[in-house]
Amino acid sequence: MPKLTLDDLAKIREKTKRLTTIRVGGEYRAKVCVHMGTCGIAAGARTIMNALMKELEEREIHDVLLTNSGCAGLCSREPMATVEVAGQAPVKYVDLTEKKIKEIFEKHVLGGKIVQEYALGIGSEKTDY
Amino acid sequence: MVNLTIDGKKVQIEEGKTILQAAAKCEIKIPTLCYHPVVEAYGACRVCMVEVTVRGKTDLVTACNTKVQEGLDVQTGSERVLKARRLNVEMLMARAPAAEPVQELAKALGIEKTRFEIKDPQEKCILCGLCVRACETIVGASAISFIERGTERKVMPPFGEPSEACIGCTACAYFCPTGAITYEDKYGRKVIHTELHLGPTTAIRVPIRQAVPMVPLIDTEACIHFKTGECKVCTKVCDREAINHDMQDETLEVEVGTIILASGFKPFDAKRIPAYGYGHFPNVITALEFERLVNASGPTGGKIKLADGTEPKAVGIIHCVGSRDENYNEYCSRVCCMYSLKFAHLIKEKTSADVYDFYIDMRCFGKGYEEFYHRLLHEGTKFIRGRVSDITDMAMTQREEGKLIIRVEDTLLGTVRRIPVDMVILATGLEPSIDHNQLAKIFNISCSQDTFFLERHPKLAPVSTFSDGIYLAGACQAPRDIPDTVAQAGGAAAEALALADKGTFALEPVTAEIDEDLCAGCQLCVNLCPFTAITYDKEKGISVVNDALCKGCGTCVAACPSGASHQKHFRDSQIFAEIEGIFVV
């Protein structure tokens, strides 16, 4: 009995690949950017970030890029996040709560359907990286 | 077979041979320095470089370790070759200006002096590595190696300390082509005639020039292979592949009808008499050593020399060393007087030395012997009757300075004398060569008290033994000289042949017999028999006498507790009758 079979090798590869995809800048289905300037953090961006991390972790999703950025300039509507599904224009969501972001994640990030009610606008600006 | 061309000459040679070997085959000389036929080629000195062309590709390679290839075209003296070779030799001249082979090579290549910096004009080592390779691959000791690298490279034992791995074989010095390695015998005993090598010289040798069969043997005590498991150089140089290191002593069982024992003698070990200083004074030598010294095929070509190579001015010959002496051997060794006289004669003949013979009495028993003695008396040999007490180098007078002084009581003059001489020859006596008691047990024969073999009868059966079919010849029976030995050997051979021819021999009439009906099988007699003639028959439960082995001593008969054993012609009843008869009167 070998210590490792071909299947095992493939499994390890797949798993680790998912965990390290962000390093190689491969294909992402979506990019979520949480705006985490001082204003954002004060308004609860941390909760949004944590909620998103938890979603990614629980669903074992590795092809969604989760980033943060500084203040988006619309401090009154914080917490804010920008969702950019591959091939589509980025969408900015404002006044987020944990519940809201979960819904957005479910519907927009995974489902590809924009959650209109939370969105600020579409196609505003692109996040750099 | 591979075909190649060397300097235009076509050569055919077996595959696997080197260009150097191929060149040798067609008598083209390629110079070498680090090459030795028995050591694996190293390719370090680069003077054997030749230009080879194969399949259109030309390159410089070392001839010593480049194997031949089909179609190889070799140039041993092209400009490119010579340029490289000259430069290498020139560089070696700078490294080792005192190395003669390099100088010779340079001369041959037309190099007069080196253009490179000479560090040490005395240096001889060319770093060819033969010593290192010999020590590693031939000796198997790896006691020396290169240390440092580049120009700092040198041959050293580990850490530059005397190495425990060194077995002192001096192979390194032997292989060194430039004499850069020397050695000194620090730990051996003070060698007699250091330059003469009276002992064995090499591990593989013909034992003596008159050896039969005239073939070399390997001294396993001295052979490096038996010390380290390596070497086997001899097998590499023996074309006939006649050398086999794996040979073991083997026991051969040969069935024979008769046996002649001729185990010979060994000379008395002169070291047993410390007062004579043998082994201490280099110029005190034994008779055998003198024989070797005076032998025309010996190390000095027959010249009589002292340890320092000079000729002696006075020589003392001491008779009866180890013979006629109750401290060592009581018997007379018979031959010493005559060979001592021969020595005296030879010394007189070859040198102008005074010869002193110290004797107890002259035993010139043979034909013409006495006449020889008389001749010596006329030749001026000084005979001094008396046993030498000791030999010393403690001079008491000017005349004795640097001499060996023999102290002796001259019994004819009745005074103690001190005779200064340069060389002392000890006329060592004869002793049985091997353990005769053990041999006697094997052959069912006896030894006399002096441990020489005992003949059956001194007059009636002088070459026979108590075992029928076993005969004695030569000094194993008693000290004797060559004519006597030859005569006795002839007698023994005749007896042996006569018996073998006859095919049968008469049993002793006086043997023991065991009465089957009376023997209870107590086995007490079995071990008594010195001739192992009695065996216990387990099945019958009785002991049985082998008539052919029984010599009829009757010991078993005397011991048989149940009276079952009888001795023919010496029955109990016969002896009882004899006893009774004595007192009839």
């Binding site: - | 006399s448 010195p530 001739f531 001593c553 009757g554 011991a559 009882f576 004899e578 006893i579 004595i582």
Partner: protein
């Protein structure tokens, strides 16, 4: 005895190879020695059965001599050593029988030692002569009325 001097009667068991030859040598060399020793030749001193010694004493010997080759010289290698062992034990036992040690002797005489044989004979004779007769038969033997 008639002239008042006691002439001991001695028995000698001599080995064929050394002592008997030695005795022979003494004879051929015309040596003069005491005639008291009656010689019985055996092949080897190892052949001498203690019964022979007892028998000799019983039959009237005043002394018994066993003679063989010197140790190490035995024609049969070790027969003389066996003789020696038996002699030692027998000597002790004879003492218990009231026979003096001096009446029983073991000697090594080689074929060349005619002189020694002469010497042994003379000495042994004198030795036993000093002890006087053994008179064994007087109170041994068959049941006799002498008891009375």
């Amino acid at each position: 005895m008639s002239n008042g001097t006691f002439e001991p009667r001695l028995v000698g068991f001599l080995c064929n190879w050394c002592s008997y030859t030695g005795a022979d040598l003494a004879g051929t060399a015309r040596m003069i020695y005491a005639p008291n020793v009656r010689i019985i030749r055996v092949m080897c001193s190892g052949r001498v059965d203690p019964q022979f010694v007892l028998k000799a004493f019983k039959e009237g010997a005043d002394g018994v001599l066993i003679s063989g080759c010197h140790p190490g010289d035995c024609h049969y290698k070790e027969g003389n050593y066996k003789a020696l062992r038996r002699y030692k034990l027998l000597l002790k036992m004879l003492d218990q029988f009231g026979i003096e040690k001096e009446r029983f002797r073991l000697e090594w005489v080689s074929a060349a030692e005619g002189v020694k044989f002469q010497h042994v004979c003379n000495e042994f004779t004198e030795q036993v002569r000093k002890l006087g007769p053994l008179y064994l038969s007087k109170n041994g033997g068959k049941h006799e009325q002498r008891e009375a």
